[in-house]
């Protein structure tokens, strides 16, 4: 433990005395204060607020991510080249402690600078502003839906031979990608129903929804939402995202939890009756959210901060591991490419479906991209800034999971790998 503390202190001293912390703090503060003058929103106060929150903290986070990952890739490699590392390695300190202490020090530096930016954001926003839990309808996963569709395709004699003879994994992937965009149609005077898992009591709620119609034209929407005893009236145009408050008389928690005869435990049914002149369409996985009141923006900001620090810790520990196993230039190159691939691969996978896999190079490229997208999904799927900006609650359970996994377990695991690589890399010198 003493060895860990000494290496941690040394790294902090290096970061402070090399003015890295000061430079990062100045750059971050400049970015935070310059943002309101740079940002041009949609002209509304809300829009500008959303952009400010997203891009101010997002910019600082991006800066820290690149700067600290670059530092992390040099933290052991540079010391090894300068032969200072060997003086630490011959002392009675575990190699794991060396790698983990360096990861911890860089993370602490990132956390401190990010805290400064978060503090500026806290001062410039309304901390008491309410946030909402954003609930999605309970549906089979896109994978399950794709499997069911695949089965029905195979049983259907009218399915084209090309589809039947195609590779199962390719068809399944295609169907899975499209499951997110499957539309549901609600005819005139028909009622649609979606189930939601509701945590706790639904004292008040709202529905955020986006309808379209088959002609993709702007049209009137008229209808009635019901959630237990709560009622909301929708009267707007298609193509726009509308938030419909659900109001009602004082409800008991049992009533508001939905109809007990039809709903399972903790599940509530949201019904929508289309009273307009045309059938309406929506993609249930994308276009409908049930909003439930959550705690204030200040707490959401704190949770977002914790998630961002955890992501920083994970990427820093990856950089330190690379630094233990590779020379500085190769480690830096690998880290930056990994960051870019992790950032870009989900959109590449979404934009290039299997039909485009015509030649071998494309196929290999897409297989690798899909692998990268899957491997980085735990990080890329997190989007705390977007949720913070849109007043959607960054959920406590998710924060706890991210902190345990990305702030503790993964850095410990990568530090163990670094400890394994350290003496072996020394052999190369």
């Amino acid at each position: 433990m003493r060895g860990f503390l000494e290496v941690f202190r040394l790294e902090i001293a290096a970061l402070v005395r090399s003015k890295t912390v000061a430079m990062l703090s100045i750059a971050s503060l400049a970015w935070m204060f310059a943002m309101p003058f740079v940002v041009t929103g949609d002209g509304t106060v809300e829009g500008e607020r959303e952009l400010f929150i997203h891009y101010s903290l997002g910019g600082v986070f991006a800066l820290l991510l690149v700067a600290l990952v670059a530092s992390a890739t040099g933290v052991l490699a540079r010391e090894r080249t300068a032969k200072r590392l060997q003086l630490t390695m011959v002392r009675p300190v575990r190699f794991f402690s060396i790698a983990f202490a360096k990861t911890a020090a860089l993370t602490a530096c990132g956390a401190a600078v990010l805290a400064l930016a978060t503090l500026v954001l806290a001062v410039r926003t309304d901390l008491a502003r309410p946030c909402s839990h954003v609930l999605k309808p309970v549906m089979p996963s896109p994978r399950e839906e794709a499997k069911a569709m695949y089965r029905s395709f195979m049983e259907d004699p009218n399915t084209p031979v090309q589809v039947k003879s195609a590779r199962k994994s390719a068809v399944l992937r295609l169907l899975e990608n499209r499951a997110m965009d499957n539309y549901q149609t609600i005819g005139t005077n028909d009622t649609a129903e979606w189930k939601f898992n509701i945590p706790g009591e639904t004292a008040a709620a709202a529905v955020r929804i986006r309808f379209t119609n088959q002609f993709d034209m702007r049209d009137d929407v008229r209808g009635l939402f019901r959630l237990g005893g709560l009622v909301g009236v929708a009267s707007n145009i298609t193509q726009a995202i509308v938030t419909v408050p659900l109001l009602g008389a004082e409800q008991s928690s049992q009533e508001t939890a939905g109809d007990p005869s039809t709903a399972e435990a903790n599940q509530a049914s949201l019904r929508f009756e289309n009273r307009g002149k045309r059938p309406l369409m929506l993609r249930p996985r994308r276009d409908i959210d049930l909003l439930q009141p959550a705690d204030a923006f200040g707490w959401n900001l704190l949770r977002t901060y914790l998630e961002l620090v955890s992501i920083l810790a994970l990427t820093i520990s990856f950089g330190v591991f690379l630094s233990a196993a590779l020379g500085r230039p190769v480690a830096l190159f690998t880290a930056i490419v990994s960051l870019l691939v992790g950032e870009m691969s989900p959109s590449v996978v979404e934009q290039y479906p299997d039909e485009l896999e015509k030649d071998a190079v494309d196929r290999i490229g897409l297989v690798l991209t899909r692998f990268a997208a899957e491997a980085t999904r735990p990080v890329s799927a997190l989007n705390p800034l977007e949720r913070l900006a849109s007043d959607a609650c960054v959920e406590r359970k998710e924060v706890a999971r991210v902190v345990v996994l990305q702030l503790l377990l993964v850095p410990v695991f990568l530090s163990l790998l670094a400890a394994f690589a350290l003496p072996r890399k020394q052999d190369d010198l």
Partner: protein
């Protein structure tokens, strides 16, 4: 002296460096067997490229041998227990330039597991010993080579090691400091510390070493007690190595130092 008292033991140790494709490039150490007993000052001598540094790095656990066995105090060199008893003075100082002399010593003391108060006390004591008390608060990045060497020497002693490995201990020191270091080595040895050192300065080795081994092309070509060589170490060395090359300079320096 029986095996139980050996502090360092190398048995048929080989080290082959390989390229990216794992093809052997250099046989740096080739079947080296040696042992260093407790309390001894042992000199590892040889021309450049003879395998001295590679041998030292294997003893320190910084390199793994390709074959053979290296043990310190009967333990693998990378074990924490063995490293607890080890001090190391590298050929160049390799200090963190942003730390002060005092911070450098307390850092290495902390790595040796000393409590903060003990570390500070011992740092002051060693700074006094190497004559750097008045510049203890200056960052070592601004130190001259000789001053850095003194800090490194103090750092190698901060954990009160039982075994001190010194790579060219007098390198970069002026004649007075060199003499002080040699006196220190003798004093440490008299106190029971085992010392393994390499040196290009044969006169230095002759002055302080009890026993030497001469390496050439990774092999031990000769060795024995300095007192039993029957000739000067330089003459003995030149006779054994055959190719004086690099050691003409070493001999010249040694003679100059003697004057």
């Amino acid at each position: 002296m029986d095996d139980g008292e050996n502090v360092i033991e190398l048995v048929d140790v080989r080290k082959t460096f390989r390229d990216f494709w794992l093809r052997p490039t250099v046989n740096a150490v080739d079947g080296l067997t040696l042992s260093v007993s407790r309390g001894e000052v042992f000199g590892l001598l040889g021309p450049n490229g003879s395998g001295k540094s590679t041998t030292i790095k294997m003893i320190l656990g910084l390199l793994s041998p390709s074959a053979g066995k290296v043990s310190l105090f009967g333990l693998p060199p990378r074990s924490i227990e063995a490293r607890r008893k080890l001090g190391y003075l590298p050929e160049l100082s390799y200090l963190h330039p942003f730390l002060t002399a005092r911070e450098t010593l307390t850092y290495y003391a902390g790595l040796c597991g000393l409590r903060r108060s003990v570390a500070k006390e011992r740092a002051e004591e060693l700074l006094e010993m190497v004559g750097l008390s008045d510049v203890a608060s200056r960052t070592v990045g601004g130190f001259s080579k000789g001053m850095s060497r003194r800090v490194a020497l103090a750092a190698s002693l901060i954990g009160r090691p039982e075994l001190l490995v010194m790579d060219e201990p007098t390198s970069g020191l002026d004649p007075i400091s060199t003499k002080e270091v040699k006196t220190l080595i003798k004093a440490l040895s008299a106190g029971g510390m085992t010392i393994l050192m390499t040196s290009h300065l044969l006169a230095d080795a002759e002055d302080v070493c009890d026993r030497v081994t001469i390496l050439n092309h990774g092999k031990a070509v000769a060795g024995g007690r300095v007192s039993e060589l029957g000739t000067s170490l330089e003459e003995f060395f030149l006779a054994k190595v055959g190719d004086p090359g690099d050691f003409k300079l070493a001999g010249f320096l040694a003679r100059g130092d003697a004057r």
